[in-house]
C-alpha cells in the first residue's frame, strides 16, 4: 500500500502541495487531474523520489518506475532507446508494435514527432516490471488515437504486472477510462476523490465543479 501523511511542498511562501492523508491500495489505478499548477506533477515527482517533500511521511513500494512529463530521446534508433532500459530486442520490438511505432524502429529517436516520442518514452518505462507505475501526463502530445494506444498499452501492462498505477492527465478520456479512481487537485489540495463517474457527475467541491465544466464532458 502507498500511504501519504501530512505531505507538504512549499516554495518560499507558497504552498504548492498540501495533502493531509492519502492512500493507494496495491494494484489500484488512479488518475490525477487538475488545472496547470494544481500540484499533479509535484505529487508524482515526490512519489517518484525525484523531488523532496518539505514535510510529511510516505510509505512507498520497493520498485517504482516513472515517466516524466518531458520526454527525452536518447541517441540512436527506437530499438536502442528501449534496450537501453534493459529490455532485449524482441521485447523492444513487441513494445513498439503495441505503441504502433514498429514501422519507425530504425529511425533516429530524435526525429520523432512529440506524440511518437512520448509513446517511445512510455515503451522504455513499460519494458521493466515494477510495483508502482507513475506516469506524468503520458498523452499530453498525443492525438485521440495516440491517447487510445497509450491507454490500451498501459492496461495490457497492468494485466501482466500487478502494479499500482498513478497517472496525471489533462485528457478527459484518460480521466474517465484511465483508472478506477479519479482525484482532482486544486491549488495543491484534493478537491475531489472517488470513482470517475461519481466525481464527474457529482463533484464534491466548487473547485472540482468548475474544473470539470471546463472539460465539457
Amino acid at each position: 500500500m502507498i500511504e501519504i501523511q501530512d505531505l507538504k511542498k512549499i516554495y518560499g511562501e507558497r504552498t504548492v502541495l498540501s495533502i493531509p492523508s492519502l492512500r493507494f491500495e496495491n494494484g489500484s489505478s488512479t488518475v490525477l487531474a487538475g488545472a496547470n499548477g494544481s500540484g499533479k506533477t509535484t505529487l508524482i515527482k515526490i512519489l517518484a523520489g525525484t523531488l523532496k517533500a518539505t514535510d510529511g511521511n510516505l510509505t512507498l513500494p520497493q520498485k517504482t518506475r516513472y515517466l516524466p512529463q518531458q520526454s527525452y530521446a536518447f541517441r540512436g534508433n527506437l530499438i536502442k532507446n528501449i534496450t537501453l532500459a534493459g529490455a532485449d530486442e524482441n521485447t523492444a520490438l513487441h513494445l513498439l508494435e503495441t505503441m504502433e511505432l514498429a514501422h519507425l524502429k530504425e529511425k533516429k529517436a530524435s526525429s520523432l514527432s512529440g506524440g511518437e516520442l512520448q509513446r517511445l518514452a512510455l515503451c522504455r518505462v513499460l519494458a521493466q516490471k515494477c510495483d508502482l507505475l507513475l506516469l506524468d501526463e503520458p498523452t499530453s502530445a498525443c492525438d485521440a488515437k495516440g491517447t487510445e494506444i497509450v491507454l490500451n498499452a498501459v492496461k495490457a501492462y497492468r494485466a501482466e504486472n500487478d502494479c499500482t498505477l498513478i497517472m496525471s492527465t489533462h485528457s478527459p478520456l484518460l480521466a474517465t477510462a484511465g483508472g478506477e479512481r479519479l482525484i482532482i487537485l486544486g491549488d495543491g489540495e484534493i478537491a475531489a476523490d472517488g470513482e470517475p463517474k461519481e466525481v464527474l457527475t457529482h463533484p464534491e467541491s466548487d473547485w472540482a465543479k468548475s474544473f470539470i465544466t471546463g472539460w465539457k464532458i
Binding site: A48, G49, T50, K63, T64, R65, Y66, L67, P68, Q70, S71, Y72, F74, R75, G76, N77, L84, A85, G86, E106, K107, K108, S110, S111, A121, R124, V125, Q128, C130, L134
Partner: protein, 163 residues
C-alpha cells in the same frame, strides 16, 4: 575564468623560483612547469563550462534515467554519452585556450630554444625580430593544427545517420 594569464604565470613563477616554496624541485624554465601553469589557467574554464552543461542539458537525461531506475553510475555514464558533443566542445575550448597561450608560458618557460619554446612564443619572438614570413608560417601551421583537431572532434561526436 577571468584570471589574467600573465598573473597566473607570475604566480607559478613565484612558487617555483629558486627561493619559492617549490624551488627545490628545479622545475622553473621546464616544460613541466609550463604544464602546471596551463592547468591553473584551464581548470576554471573547464569546471565552469562543464558545470553549466550539467545544470542545463543533463536535467532531462537525469530525470529520465532516474525514472527508469538507473544507478547513479549508469546515469552519469548516460549523461556523458548523451552530452558528448557539449563535453567535446568544452575540451576543444580548453585546447584552443591552451595552444593560444603566450604570457604564462613565456614567464615560467623562458622561451628557451629547443627546450621550452612553443609555437606561440616563437611567433611572438620572430615577429619582434622582424621575421614576419617565418612568424606567419608558424601561425598558419598553428591554425591548421587547430582546424584539424576541431574537424576530427566534430566527426567523432556526430551521430551516424539512420534514415
Amino acid at each position: 575564468m577571468g584570471l589574467p594569464p600573465v598573473v597566473a604565470g607570475l604566480f607559478v613563477y613565484v612558487l617555483f623560483t629558486h627561493y619559492g616554496p617549490f624551488g627545490s624541485l628545479n622545475l622553473l624554465f621546464t616544460v613541466n612547469v609550463m604544464v602546471i601553469a596551463q592547468v591553473l589557467l584551464i581548470t576554471p574554464i573547464v569546471v565552469a563550462l562543464t558545470s553549466s552543461f550539467i545544470e542545463g542539458s543533463s536535467k532531462p537525461v537525469i530525470e529520465t534515467a532516474e525514472g527508469l531506475g538507473f544507478s547513479k553510475f549508469k546515469t552519469a555514464a548516460l549523461c556523458i554519452s548523451e552530452g558528448r558533443a557539449s563535453l567535446f566542445s568544452v575540451v576543444l575550448t580548453a585546447f584552443g585556450r591552451s595552444i593560444a597561450e603566450v604570457g604564462a608560458v613565456s614567464i615560467v618557460g623562458g622561451n628557451i630554444q629547443w627546450k621550452t619554446r612553443v609555437m606561440t612564443t616563437a611567433i611572438m619572438l620572430e615577429t619582434n625580430k622582424g621575421n614576419f614570413s617565418f612568424a606567419l608560417a608558424l601561425g598558419i601551421i598553428l591554425l591548421l593544427i587547430a582546424f584539424i583537431v576541431n574537424a576530427v572532434a566534430s566527426l567523432a561526436v556526430k551521430e551516424p545517420k539512420h534514415d
